[in-house]
Symmetry: D2
Subunit: 263 residues, 4 copies
């Protein structure tokens, strides 16, 4: 059985020092637990709820910093792209290009990302059924790229609330043959629920992450921060760095039960 993988990092790149410190801490922990790790941070939050929110350092400066993390910390890096013009420069640095949930139906954008040949992580839109992902996978594959990851991040449930339907994990795996990541921190967002920013319920992220691994998820994504209450983005649903070890151990142990300890 494949070991459980982790995708983790701060929601948005803040400054070099903070970003690096987070990467080092994650790397140490993953090495100790022998869990594959991908580092994730956004260089630009292009769809913040409010025009007044912090957006990040931008494409150029952000990619430069991710390049540093990649080479100096020797970690694969993942980030999200938001328009066609970003795709080629991003592909020169990133190990995995991520399609944001809101953009998962934009055909030209999907094709531009696919054509880089890099692994693509498709976040399933909050407005899609699990079986709707197959058409999106087909779009990527039509450009000759079959290195695809799928991310479950919840579905709209009434207003300003998301619910995770864990049936989606086996459904997406079986329909597409691709690995499924569970996004533990965006799934506990309350989108728009805090007026001019999205609220969140950090305390539920470990609960849902454990449930996802028990339901067969291949990897867990989480936003982490040394001090979530001071994070510049998604603080309410980010996990404090110093709580990760027992949490990751639990996830790993649940994974082993599903795969008979053969990892």
């Amino acid at each position: 059985g494949m070991p459980l993988a982790i995708v983790a990092g701060p929601c948005v790149i803040e400054d070099e020092d903070t970003t690096r410190r987070i990467a080092e801490r994650l790397k140490d922990l993953a090495a100790r637990l022998q869990m594959p790790l991908i580092f994730k941070a956004s260089f630009d939050k292009a769809n913040r709820t409010s025009i007044h929110s912090y957006r990040g350092p931008g494409l150029e400066k952000g990619l430069r910093l991710l390049e540093t993390i990649r080479t100096q910390c020797e970690l694969p890096v993942l980030s999200d792209v938001h328009e066609i013009a970003q795709v080629v420069p991003a592909a020169q640095v990133l190990d995995v290009l991520q399609i944001p949930a809101f953009l998962c139906r934009q055909t030209d954008f999907l094709l531009a990302v696919a054509r880089t040949g890099k692994p693509v992580n498709i976040k399933k839109g909050q407005f899609l059924a699990p079986w709707d992902i197959a058409n999106i996978v087909d779009k990527i594959a039509s450009a000759g790229n079959r290195r695809i990851l799928l991310t479950e991040r919840g579905a709209m449930f009434g207003y300003n609330n998301l619910v995770v339907d864990f049936r989606s994990i086996p459904i997406m795996q079986q329909q597409t043959g691709m690995p499924v990541i569970f996004d533990a921190t965006h799934s506990v967002q309350l989108p728009g629920g805090a007026g001019s920013s999205s609220g969140g319920q950090r305390e539920h992220a470990p609960v849902l992450a454990r449930a996802a691994v028990a339901a067969g998820a291949d990897a867990v994504f989480m936003e982490v921060h040394p001090d979530p209450d001071k994070a510049l983005c998604d603080g309410p649903n980010s996990l404090p760095l110093d709580t990760l070890e027992p949490f990751w151990r639990q996830l790993q142990a649940i994974r082993r039960i599903l795969h008979d300890g053969d990892d």
Copy 2:
């Protein structure tokens, strides 16, 4: 840590022989795995989708058979009641009285059940939020009965579909202090989705049950049958008896991870 408990049995009492055979099989397995077991079967399905569906042997004959299971198999028995007139006779036989989800807001009925002093299992209505259960617990407690179990069985998600919001398990535990059972087989129903009966997705029941235990559920409820395709009720979401052992072992192992192996 408390061990994970199981509530299991056929959806509806069919004949004495089948019912007994199921009880014996469940008892053997639970004993072998040292899991607490409650036997469950309905004597009357009072809210079938269609007027033409099989409803069960009725109150008197059904209770007599449950009494037999209780004394001869030495198993605690749970069944659901549907109107005030059934409550007193049912309480003379049953170890736990169950409030059906559709009836969880009927005050007089709740009070009648509460006044028996017997443990009460409240199935959370498909139309309730997790925090809405506190008012129902208050109604039971107002009659001096605090032996209460809560059951999560999914919430309406659009038409003819349910979704399980696993945040509900810790929310209900924390708000009420009561143990939470996860109903693995009704949660995968497609209510009304098969025309004149409810459809189901049996294959998802173990997935969701594992997720529930990982999310902290105290017990798992499941409908089982020696031959689900021939079951007179809820066949599409019942689990075959001969697949239970590896499934229960997985659930138990996940439970131990959450509770540090101290059971």
Copy 3:
């Protein structure tokens, strides 16, 4: 074309004087506008959110008062029943027996109501799709009673919120051939949303009522009160008596557009 009918009254019977005063006011208005009117009030609110809420005068006293309204005001009266034992006494007084939404799947109860031969108003459960009502109509019809009204009162939409899907009005009419009432005041409830009682959004009731008539509803139900903020039940979604005339005139005018002014 049939004229638009109105079903109206206080949520719960308060005292004789208030109840009568409401009935007289409604009767005068309906007569002036030549709209058919059924008076509605509950004698017992059997499923209040909290155990501490006012429930009404009870079966005997409530039916006596409804009898007074019926004979002295010469208005047909409708009320809801909640258990089999209430059905026969209620049928001796009421012109229409109403099945509460939560109870619309309880087969024995439906049959008991059906067997009175009285017109039955089925409130569609918040957990049902429009096409699910056909099985319920079949249950009533199986007892030889085809005097059936259907009421749309919204469907669960996430937690503590309802949404009205107006496609349901033509769907239910076409599938069953029965008239459809739109419940304008319960549809704007926020169930459980106010802690130990349900919240409401009175200002949206006229909006949704107009939409319902435009979508083809045959009648509109509304809770009314001389002073909604002092109402003992459902105040937040009750309409003040003195605002009804322009509202009813609008509904009537919309109805005439759909039916070519031939009423």
Copy 4:
């Protein structure tokens, strides 16, 4: 009171002849009924469900044809843009630029559209609450553009289904002061519900359009086609041209009831 406006046209530009014929027919009807009309057609369907679907003539050819409609038929034209590079050329031709629902949270894109100074029609995302639109209006207004229209096109309701919450019309009007268009044909889509394309329920479009006008909508949007079953896009929810007259008359009559016949 302002008269009810209509936004109508084929889903996608097919050929010049068909497009022009549709525009002429719509113009004649609108003139006869004295209803303000905006012609709408897409030059590129950038987010079709499947990679194999027809997308339209593309930006350059499509804008040239819309320019023809604009000058020769003397109709204002509206179309949707999908990426920043399209915004400036589109603004040189179009009278109104439309933000697609999936893109309504992309800040840079919103700002680029806003900066053209042209009227902007924001389609409310299927994943947004009505009150979430205020943050989007703020983004547009932050660029000094307050010529904003809002479009209601339904919210996700479970999987592969939308529901229209008509409370959204007054909520968006009151919160933003902007006019609200109701999109009658996309609201009856069953997104993804037909496998590799979206299904639709054309028969419900007039029902929901009447409801929307009764709820206070300022304009109605509809996709029309001379022969919907042969349409290259959204056929299942397009309305046949020759059924429009009685439908538009009904909408206009309902509008007059709300505004006292003063238009």
